[in-house]
Structure formats: C-alpha cells, structure tokens
C-alpha cells in the first residue's frame, strides 16, 4: 500500500543477528509513531521469531525479513527455507530443539514465543519455503458513547467517498446497536477502522441520508484468494426503513466487488438485517456468547456463475458432501480418496492462525504425517489452554491427501459444519472442534 513504511533485509539464520533486527523494528515503530508498549511488543516478537527460526531454518539459506509499518499495525514477515527433517518443529505446539539456541525462551513452541504479537500465522508456500507473519496492532482508545442521529431525511444513498470521522462514527454506531460478536474487531476501537480502510486492510460501503447522516454500514476483507468475509449490514434507521437501507448496502457491496478477483462472499456474523433472499445458508458455527452456546449461520453467495468443479472426497465425508451439493444445486465431480495406508513421513505439520482478540484459532494442514491425529489433539489442547473458544479447521478439497485427513479430524474431535464453495482452491470444508458446553 502507498504510505506503508517498509524495511527489507536478508540475514543468515543465526542468533547473533536477532538483536540488530530488533533494533530495526524499534526504529520502524518509532518512525511510524507507535506507543512505547507496542514498540516493545513488536521488538520482542521480531527478536523471538528470529531466535526461533535460527533453530531450524536451512543454514545455507538466508532468512528474508520484511518489516512493515502501517497506520493501524506493524507487521513482521519472515520468509525462510526449512528442510523436511526439521519441519515437525515448525508446529506451533512444538519445542524447538537446537544446540545453537541460547535463550531459554527459544526452547518454547511458537505459541508461546508469539505471545508478544497480537496474532501470527505460518504459511507454507512451495516445497521447503515458509512464511511466518506476526502482527502488532496500534493501541486505540476504546469505543466512546455515541449519539445516534435522529430525524432521518430520505432518500438514502450509498456514499463512496469516506471521511475518517464518519467511518469512526459508523463503527461506534454499529458497536452500540449490534452484539459484539457481529462486529469486526476494529469496531471496538472505532478510530482504528478508518486507518484500516486507508491501509487497504478492510473496505466498506456507507449509506447516508439526504443530509449526509450515516444510516448504515457494511464492511468486508479478503480471507483467501477467492473469498471475501463481510460483516453487517449495520442499519441505524428505525425498523420501517431498515429493510431498504440493508438492501442498499448489500447491493452497494456486491456492485463494488463485482469485478474484483473474488468468486464468493460469505459471513458467519451477518446481522438479522441481511436480505436473506440474496444469500444462501451453508451451515452454522458454534460460539459461546456471554456464557451461552449460540449457533451463528454461515451465509454466502457467488459473485459469478459456478459451472462445476472436481473435488476429492473421503468415504467419511461423502454423504455430507452429496447432501450439501444437492441442497445448493452445485455441480461437482466427486472423486473418491481413501485414507493412506502409509504416511509420507513421521511428523505432520499444521499451519495455524491464532487471534485471541476474536477468540478464534484456525488450522490448516501443510504436511501429512504419522502423528497427524496426535498433532491435531495437541493443537486443540494448546488453544484451549490459551482460552480460545472457537477452533476451526479448513480442508481444501482440491488436494487429495488433505481430503483424506477426514478420519484424523473426526478422531481428534472435529465435526464438518459447512461446505464453503470455492472457499479455497476449490471448495473448502469448514470443521469445528466440538465445544464443551
């Protein structure tokens, strides 16, 4: 994004370089105007990840580091190569074991090392290439009380030019009028929202009345190469006009993203104002809200025609898939895949995105291994220890070995809750670990 402050460098994967890189993180944080606390957390995260990766990144290959200062966030990105032998150690629950490490903290798994960051994710690119990203958010003031405008003056219209003050007010209005779980995290500190819009991390449409007063808001952000996750519609007018405002917001959203490179839009926190006829329901996610177990529907729609795909399907999922595809009138070639009789290696590797702010952890599989069931269970246990309520697993049906993991997931306590058409390279099955009520 224009306006981002970026530092790129390559270092040998050695512990001696962790401190100078942390110094750069400090300089970036100061220059980007972050508070001292966030600055320290960012330095700490950068230094700890450097030390951690020095434990098993390929010694002949440099560690590529990108440090980015945005309005709302600092991000550290570590691109590295790791040989098969050390991949098991990349699981966030593992303990890195390397004679080269001196700091005792580096003996911990990523889940502990990464506690300084607000969230982190590990991604597998190709072959032996990995990227580890850690993010530290700017501190913003909590939501202040906001007065709801009165005396609406139709006609209502979508406004495409967004004023930061108006965005802040819209986020605060949404927080005051809707349950917390339906609002994106950035609404809790409304001044963060316009910064995220300016950074390109989130996008939105606002509906206004003839006087320019905000009457509604709908926001969205990409969550994969093919899918946009939306929140809303948030409507601030009385009930007699709320349906027309919601329709305006949804149409404005769809028109805005119609020619962007995404195939679907979906939400698991859509509000009751959503025009149901414009969307399809896929299933629901369990969530604890104020101590109560709730089911939140997953709604979606395509942006383009879906003329069919081929998906891999294990026997345990066939009935679930066929019923879902029939209900959704989706055309799919279902290709059978069996659980492998032998695993390619001993240690499996799971990718994890961990976001305590959203009370959410999400898992994907990078490498199959003999310990897959145990590895899943270890991740669940680690997340539960961190107090995470919702643990999801995403299965991409374009990859046969990934689809074949159904029995491991079932054994580890996961249940398929929805098909997300074109949510991955093809369709994705969303699994959720069973909540203990």
């Amino acid at each position: 994004m224009p306006g981002d402050m970026c530092i790129s460098l390559e270092i040998p994967p050695e512990t001696d370089f962790a401190c100078p890189v942390a110094g750069l993180a400090n300089a970036l944080a100061v220059r980007a105007g972050f508070d001292r606390r966030e600055n320290y957390r960012f330095q700490l995260a950068v230094e700890e990840f450097c030390l951690y990766l020095a434990g098993f990144a390929d010694g002949n290959q440099p560690l590529s580091i990108g440090l980015t200062g945005k309005r709302h966030q600092m991000r550290a990105s570590f691109a590295f190569r790791a040989a098969n032998l050390s991949l098991g150690a990349l699981n966030i629950t593992s303990r890195a074991t390397s004679g080269t490490l001196e700091a005792s903290s580096a003996e911990m798994g990523l889940l502990l090392v990464g506690k300084a960051a607000d969230r982190f994710r590990l991604e597998h690119h190709t072959g032996d290439r990995f990227v580890l990203e850690a993010e530290v958010d700017r501190a913003y003031p909590e939501v202040a009380t906001v007065r709801r405008p009165e005396g609406w003056c139709p006609p209502f219209a979508i406004r495409t030019q967004h004023d930061p003050a108006q965005l802040t007010q819209a986020a605060a209005l949404a927080m005051s009028a809707y349950p917390r779980w339906q609002c994106p995290g950035c609404f809790r500190t409304p001044a963060k929202f316009p910064d995220m819009v300016a950074d390109g991390a989130i996008a939105c449409v606002l509906a206004c009345d003839a006087r320019g007063q905000t009457v509604g808001l709908l926001s969205w952000a990409p969550c994969s190469g093919q899918a946009l996750l939306f929140s809303g519609p948030f409507v601030f007018t009385p009930p007699e006009t709320s349906a027309s405002v919601a329709r305006l917001l949804v149409d404005g959203f769809l028109e805005t993203v119609a020619r962007e490179p995404y195939n679907i839009v979906f939400s698991f926190r859509a509000t009751s104002d959503l025009p149901k006829a414009s969307f399809e329901t896929l299933g629901s996610l369990q969530s604890f809200v104020d101590g109560r177990l709730e089911h939140h529907p997953i709604v979606f729609r395509h942006l383009r025609e879906d003329n069919g795909l081929a998906v891999w399907c294990p026997p345990q999922l066939e009935r679930f898939l066929r019923q879902a595809y029939d209900r959704l009138a989706l055309s799919r070639d279902i290709l059978p895949v069996e659980k492998p009789t032998a695993r390619p290696q001993r240690a499996s590797l799971l990718g994890a995105a961990y976001d305590p702010g959203r009370n959410l952890a999400e898992l994907t599989a990078f490498l199959d291994g003999e310990d897959m069931t145990a590895n899943l269970a270890a991740h669940v246990a680690a997340f539960r220890r961190q107090g995470i309520g919702a643990i999801l697993y995403h299965m991409d049906l374009s990859v046969p070995w990934e689809a074949a993991l159904a029995s491991d997931l079932i054994q580890a306590g996961f249940t398929p809750v929805a098909i997300l058409p074109q949510g991955g390279r093809t369709d994705k099955v969303v699994w959720q670990h069973e909540q203990l009520a």
């Binding site: 691109a79 028109e255 969307f279 729609r301 395509h302 383009r304 069919g308 055309s331 070639d333």
Partner: protein
C-alpha cells in the same frame, strides 16, 4: 527468495481472471440434463445467414493448412462497399475484444485513462485494467449512459471514451441528438468508441448511425461484430471503422493474421445476403421480448431492455443460485452480478422452444425458493 508472483505487475496480480463456462456436453452431464438452451451469450438462435452457411459448408478442409489473409483483405473490400468507405478505414480482429485491445494499446500510455459506464460491457474495463491504464467509471442515469457524467469524468489524461450503443446489458441507447450534443461538448478531447455490437437489432430512425457520425467527427471509431445479428460468434470476427489516420495508427498495435480464414469467408458471405436474415431475426426477437415481458409482468418481476436481443429481469433470489437452478432445468442464462446488477439475470431472446423452457422453469423455481 522472490516468488513468481513478485515478478508480476500489481495491475495484473490484482486482476480478476475470467473463467469461461465449460462445453455444453460437460455442463449437461454435470447438471443432469439431456438438453441445454443457451440463453446466456446473446447468440443468434437462427444461426448465420444462408449464404454464410453455404460458404462454411463448401470450405475445402485442405485449405486449413493455408494462412488467412493477414489483414482480412476481401472482408474489408466487402465492408467498404457496404458502407461507402475506403477498405483502409476498416480493421478486422479476432472478435471485437481484440479490436478493443488494439485501440487501447494505440492511444493509451501508462498514466492515461479511459472513461466508460460502470454498468456496461466489461471488456473495456478489463483490457484497460490489465494493461495498467486507469479506468474511470461513470454511473448510469435511468439505466442509460449519462453524457453529463461522462464529460465530468474526463481529465487531461483521458484518451478514450467507450460508449456502448445500445448498451449491453440495459438495452438503453443514445439517440442522434444526444450523441451529437455529447460529441460537440467533448470537442475532440478524446477518442470516442461507439460500440454498436447490437445496432442491427434496431430499426428506429432516431438511432444514430456511427458510420455516418464518424464522417463528421474524426475522433469517432465505430465497433461492430459478426457475432450477434450475423450468427457467427464461433468464428470470432469483429471490426472497427474510423478515419484513415486513426486506423493507420491502430493498425500498428494490431496483430496481423488474427482473424481466421473461415471466419473471414463466412463474414464476407453474410454481408452479401443479410436483408431477409435481419428481418427474420428482428421478428424472432420481438416476439420473444413480448412473451418474456408478459411472463415477468405476470410474476411481478421488474425488467428492462429495449434494444438488442436480450432482456434483463430482477429476481427475488440470488442470481447465481437461480443460474444453478435453471441449469438443472436445462436453461442457461447470464448472471448479472458481474455487470454490477446483483440479483438480475440477462436472458437472450430466442425461438419459442427455448423461451417456453425458460418460462416453465422460472416460476417453478421461484415457487420453491
């Protein structure tokens, strides 16, 4: 550790890739139908004119080994004779999409812009975007191109204004006076492309003939195609007509030999024998339009579309879901979310069996939704 993506320009990386629909037999198998009515691409259900059919049938297969005329010589002669112009004022391409690319390459440099409507044929926007050219999109007013808004969107860097007349998908069009006022106000500040892909479906005397307009305005280029009225979509023959100077410039950015040999032959033959074909097609389209308007009115559905061989209708459910349900009934339509009309579909106007199939399937689906 650069990845392949790091080497790709941002404007390509962020671009939406187009996924064409699969071949009909595959779709029929996937959706479990034995017949599929194609009402999605505004093809002419009557097929090509008789002389074109004969020309195609008599094509010697061995001639497939021979390159076509690199600049569609015979076809340009025929077009020149038809419209009373020099053959050098015509440029023939592999469909009008290729001609759009050539025009943008010829007139636009990095930092330049094009102007068009936000709800129109997508290819102007696509080609400009993946060429790194700015696209300034203007809202329609009353479902039609707004001359005032188009003029207001102009900057010093605007090189081309695309006007789809009649507009796909709304079917609205500028009459002679509107176009003339627009061109006078524009005062030659940009090239104006009049895309007349559907003009042969109109016989209204107030519809402006681009071939005549360009004689008085040398910044006007006219696009036409053999894919719609002439029923030759499978052969991909589109063309533009402009001043000698303009076409000479565009020719420099245009790929020679791109129009295939059989397409050139079929298009040339089609031009020689189109009066009865055009009349029959207009009759079919008119009957189908009346039939579908009655259907939509009876179902209480909003619809639009005056010109062209298509009609749009707003549906009470997601257009992409309706598409899949209609496919299961053996009817393929075009979803309109991609045209920025969420929950609308566009239906090509065709012969009675196809219209009846659609009219049977739609109420059935709406009842169960």
């Amino acid at each position: 550790m650069n990845s392949l993506l790091d080497r790709v320009p941002d404007y390509v990386r962020s671009f939406e890739r187009y996924v064409p629909s699969r071949p009909d037999p595959v779709l029929m198998r996937q959706f479990g139908v034995t017949k599929l009515f194609r009402l999605n691409n505004n093809e002419n259900a009557l097929g090509p004119p008789p002389l074109a059919l004969e020309a195609i049938a008599s094509f010697p297969p061995k001639q497939g080994a021979i390159y076509p005329s690199g600049d569609a010589y015979d076809l340009r002669q025929a077009l020149a004779a038809r419209f009373g112009k020099s053959p050098d004022q015509f440029l023939v391409g592999n469909g009008s999409c290729e001609v759009i690319s050539s025009v943008i390459r010829a007139f636009c440099a990095p930092g330049d812009a094009i102007v068009t409507a936000e709800k129109t044929f997508a290819v102007y926007e696509w080609v400009a975007k993946f060429s790194g050219i700015e696209v300034r999109l203007v809202p329609l007013v009353d479902q039609a191109f707004s001359p005032a808004a188009m003029l207001a969107a102009l900057t010093e860097r605007t090189k081309i204004v695309f006007v789809c007349n009649p507009n796909n998908p709304t079917g609205s069009w500028w009459n002679r006076a509107t176009l003339e006022r627009f061109l006078a106000a524009l005062d030659g500040r940009a090239v104006v492309v009049l895309d007349e892909a559907y003009r042969e479906f109109l016989d209204d005397p107030d519809f402006p003939d681009g071939m005549e307009v360009m004689q008085r305005h040398d910044n006007v280029l006219v696009f036409r195609t053999f894919s719609k009225m002439y029923g030759l979509a499978g052969f991909r023959i589109g063309y533009l007509c402009g001043s000698l100077e303009a076409v000479d410039i565009i020719r420099r950015t245009h790929i020679a030999y791109s129009a295939n040999i059989l397409g050139q032959i079929a298009a040339t033959a089609a031009l020689a024998d189109d009066v009865g074909h055009i009349a029959a097609t207009r009759r079919m389209v008119s009957e189908a339009r009346g039939f579908l308007r009655d259907l939509f009115d009876s179902l209480g559905l909003e619809h639009m579309g005056g010109a062209g061989n298509f009609i749009m209708v707003r549906t009470p459910l997601s257009d992409t879901l309706l598409y899949r349900r209609l496919m299961r009934e053996g009817v393929m339509v075009r979803t309109m979310t991609g045209f920025r009309y969420p929950n609308w579909i566009r239906v090509s106007l065709a012969q009675e069996p196809a219209m009846t199939a659609f009219a049977t399937a739609l109420p059935k689906i709406l009842e169960t939704s």
